[in-house]
């Protein structure tokens, strides 16, 4: 029983990371019907920029904790900037040309470019991210959790709640919701939809960068950390439904817990299988995702 609880707890912290990245996918899909396939690389860049900033601040005799806190706004700003660049370079020309899948290729290409840039700047080895909290695990009735893993879960929830509140209670947030519902009507009502789309990309990359610095202390930081996470988060986004914020969280938790349970009870070699099986099942039974709404095409 204790093993089961330990596995579930491990799975939750892994799943929340998938959820936060998938949340980023959902943000851009809602407003522009496009996805940033370089989302994993956005996470990786956020983590590496965060690492450099933290090392710089620690070099100036700041404690691990305060270096981390001061680094957060820097990384968030960087994420927003990176998202805007992706949108401006890759997505806007494709939307303008009414290309069906041009944005797929361009976001993938930008992802590859960012990965190579990162490899050249930070090298290809795995790096250690200084943890803001002590690394010793806490024990809750025999279940061991690292303090940083708790921060991961809290940070992910805080981010998603913040975006949800923004959408509901600020005028700009309402503009975003309007653009998601019907882009043409929103444009006719005077909302600058192009700027909204840029903003949603910026927000999406910002959440990926934030996820990057959340997950970096508990895992390996390096130029290749984004690829697998981005892919799994994409599966989570599909499973949870691309139109539901809550769906991606649930989807992430489902995938994270299934992975760790499979790894233990079936075989560690098959750890990646259940997530993809789940993806296939969801796509064949409920293609819009577990919590998504089926698109109603108006004539």
């Amino acid at each position: 029983m204790q093993i089961l609880m330990q596995l579930i707890v491990s799975g939750i912290s892994v799943g929340m990371i998938y959820g936060v990245i998938a949340f980023g996918y959902q943000l851009t899909f809602a407003t522009s019907k496009t996805l940033n396939f370089g989302q994993g690389e956005a996470l990786m860049l956020g983590a590496l920029v965060g690492l450099t900033t933290v090392n710089f601040l620690i070099g100036n005799a700041l404690g691990n904790f305060w270096a981390y806190v001061l680094m957060l706004p820097v990384v968030l700003a960087f994420g927003a900037l990176q998202g805007s660049v992706v949108e401006w370079l890759g997505v806007r020309p494709a939307i303008r040309a009414k290309s069906e899948a041009g944005w797929i290729m361009s976001t993938i290409a930008l992802g590859i470019i960012f990965k190579n840039l990162a490899e050249n700047i930070w090298g290809r080895d795995a790096l250690k991210f200084p943890s803001p909290l002590p690394e010793a695990s806490l024990s809750f009735g025999g279940i061991r959790i690292q303090p940083m893993e708790i921060v991961v879960v809290i940070g992910a929830i805080v981010l998603m709640v913040a975006v949800e509140l923004f959408n509901r209670y600020s005028i700009y947030g309402k503009a975003v919701v309007a653009t998601s519902n019907d882009r043409d009507a929103a444009g006719l009502m005077g909302i600058n939809t192009n700027r909204i789309i840029t903003f949603s990309y910026a927000l999406s990359s910002m959440s990926a960068a934030f996820a990057g610095v959340l997950v970096a202390p508990v895992t390996l930081t390096g130029a290749s950390m984004g690829a697998v996470l981005g892919l799994k988060a994409f599966a989570v986004a599909i499973i949870g439904g691309l139109s539901s914020g809550l769906g991606v969280v649930i989807g992430g938790l489902i995938l994270g817990i299934t992975e760790t349970l499979t790894g233990y009870y079936i075989s560690t070699g098959y750890k990646d299988v259940p997530g993809l099986l789940l993806l296939l099942i969801v796509l064949s039974l409920k293609p819009s995702g577990l919590f998504g709404k089926a698109a109603i095409k108006k004539v």
Partner: protein, 399 residues
């Protein structure tokens, strides 16, 4: 038209002898990027150091060595491409390298078919030198100067079971050829002591969460973890154990000496033990000179992978000695010279005295490696009594 061709041919033949001082091309194939990069880069740096020393002393047969380096990224398919390029386009006389067993196994057959010698200076999979061994093949063009996995797994088993008295080992190996072949070697080695592993777990390159594997080992009651993997994943095993609050000793293959393991695991990596052909300590004059030359040439204090650097360095010296003895750069002649090396080659790992025969292509025997121990960010000898005095230089017994 035909006359023109004859004149052209004659002209080329007259000018050919003039190109006698052209360089001897030696291929260097290894992963200079990716998870195995610290081994590949160290190997290449050791190779470059040896080549520059030999060239400064006049080269081989009066000709300078020219290294043709190619990054195989630890990917089998790239290794194959590079082998074909080096043989057909660059016309190398021999190739040194191969860190990853899988890449070596996939690529070597091109050299074997072209009758060009391959010097494995780091790859440890036991079957690497046996791929083209007799009696099926008339001549074997694959040589090695690293401690192969048969030797390492026997050492690991002996250290864990006999010397330290553990009875319930768990094997954690990665999913590559190296990891899985090593796991088989380890299981066989343990069987000789009548011990079976209580848990055998697998993980992929790039995996960061080892909770499931470690929990299964813990539930099975393991008292020692035996590893066969490379740096970053090994560090996650060490970190994972600290996270679960369950720390048992880690004994594994030589890759536990990689800088990526030591740095990423931090204090969690202390106490890990592994067989080493070379520990970065000036225990003999040759080793002292090598360490100092390496540190000066590459501006480092701690070598990222001392074993790779030392074996890379030795492989060039062995090859140079063979080419000098053969007085030719023809593949067949080099192979025969290697199998009947008359001169003693003083290397960093050991002094090579007739290291190869027609049937034995392994320069490192089981008495050469000693156990290293990770402590405070560096690798030191685990049992200092192993390398004191005369024992510092261990030589392969004559056949």
């Amino acid at each position: 038209m035909k006359m023109k061709m004859v004149w052209l041919l004659a002209a080329t033949m007259i000018t050919a002898p003039v190109m006698a001082a052209d360089p001897i091309k030696i291929g260097v194939s290894g992963p200079f990027t990716g998870g195995s990069a610290s081994m590949g880069v160290s190997m290449r740096d050791g190779v470059k150091l040896a080549a520059s020393e030999i060239n400064a002393a006049g080269g081989v047969l009066g000709r300078p060595i020219e290294l043709v380096e190619r990054d195989d990224e630890a990917k089998n398919e790239l290794g194959v491409q590079i082998a074909q390029e080096l043989i057909n386009k660059e016309n190398v006389v021999a190739t040194v390298g191969y860190i990853n067993t899988g890449v070596a196994l996939a690529s070597q057959r091109f050299y074997q078919e072209a009758e060009i010698p391959v010097f494995n200076n780091v790859a440890t999979g036991s079957v690497v030198t046996k791929q083209f061994a007799g009696p099926d093949y008339k001549a074997n063009y694959i040589f090695r100067n690293a401690a192969n996995d048969t030797i390492q797994s026997a050492m690991i088993a002996e250290e864990a079971v006999k010397r330290q008295g553990f009875k319930k080992p768990a094997i954690l190996a990665d999913a590559t050829n190296y990891g899985q072949l090593g796991k088989t070697d380890l299981t066989n080695a343990l069987q000789k002591f009548n011990i079976a592993p209580v848990a055998t777990e697998k993980f992929n390159i790039g995996d960061t969460d080892m909770t499931a594997q470690l929990l299964r080992a813990k539930e099975a009651g393991a008292d020692v973890i035996l590893t066969y993997a490379i740096g970053p994943e090994l560090a996650q095993i060490a970190n994972g154990m600290a996270k679960l609050g369950w720390k048992v000793p880690m004994i594994g293959s030589w890759t536990l000496s990689m800088a990526t393991f030591i740095d990423t695991a931090g204090p969690n990596g202390d106490g890990a033990m592994m067989p080493q052909t070379f520990i970065q300590q000036p225990t003999t004059p040759k080793r002292k000179a090598f360490i100092e030359a390496y540190q000066k040439a590459y501006n480092v204090d701690r070598m990222p992978s001392p074993v790779s650097a030392a074996q890379g360095y030795d492989s060039i010296y062995l090859l140079a000695a063979a080419i000098t003895q053969a007085k030719s750069t023809e593949g067949r002649a080099i192979r025969e010279a290697l199998e009947n090396l008359n001169t003693k080659v003083e290397g960093v790992v050991t002094t090579y005295d007739h290291p190869f025969t027609a049937t034995d292509h392994e320069a490192v025997s089981d008495n050469i490696p000693v156990f290293g121990l990770v402590k405070g960010g560096r690798v030191g000898p685990a049992h200092p009594e192993d390398i004191v005095g005369d024992q510092a230089l261990r030589i392969k017994p004559k056949a």
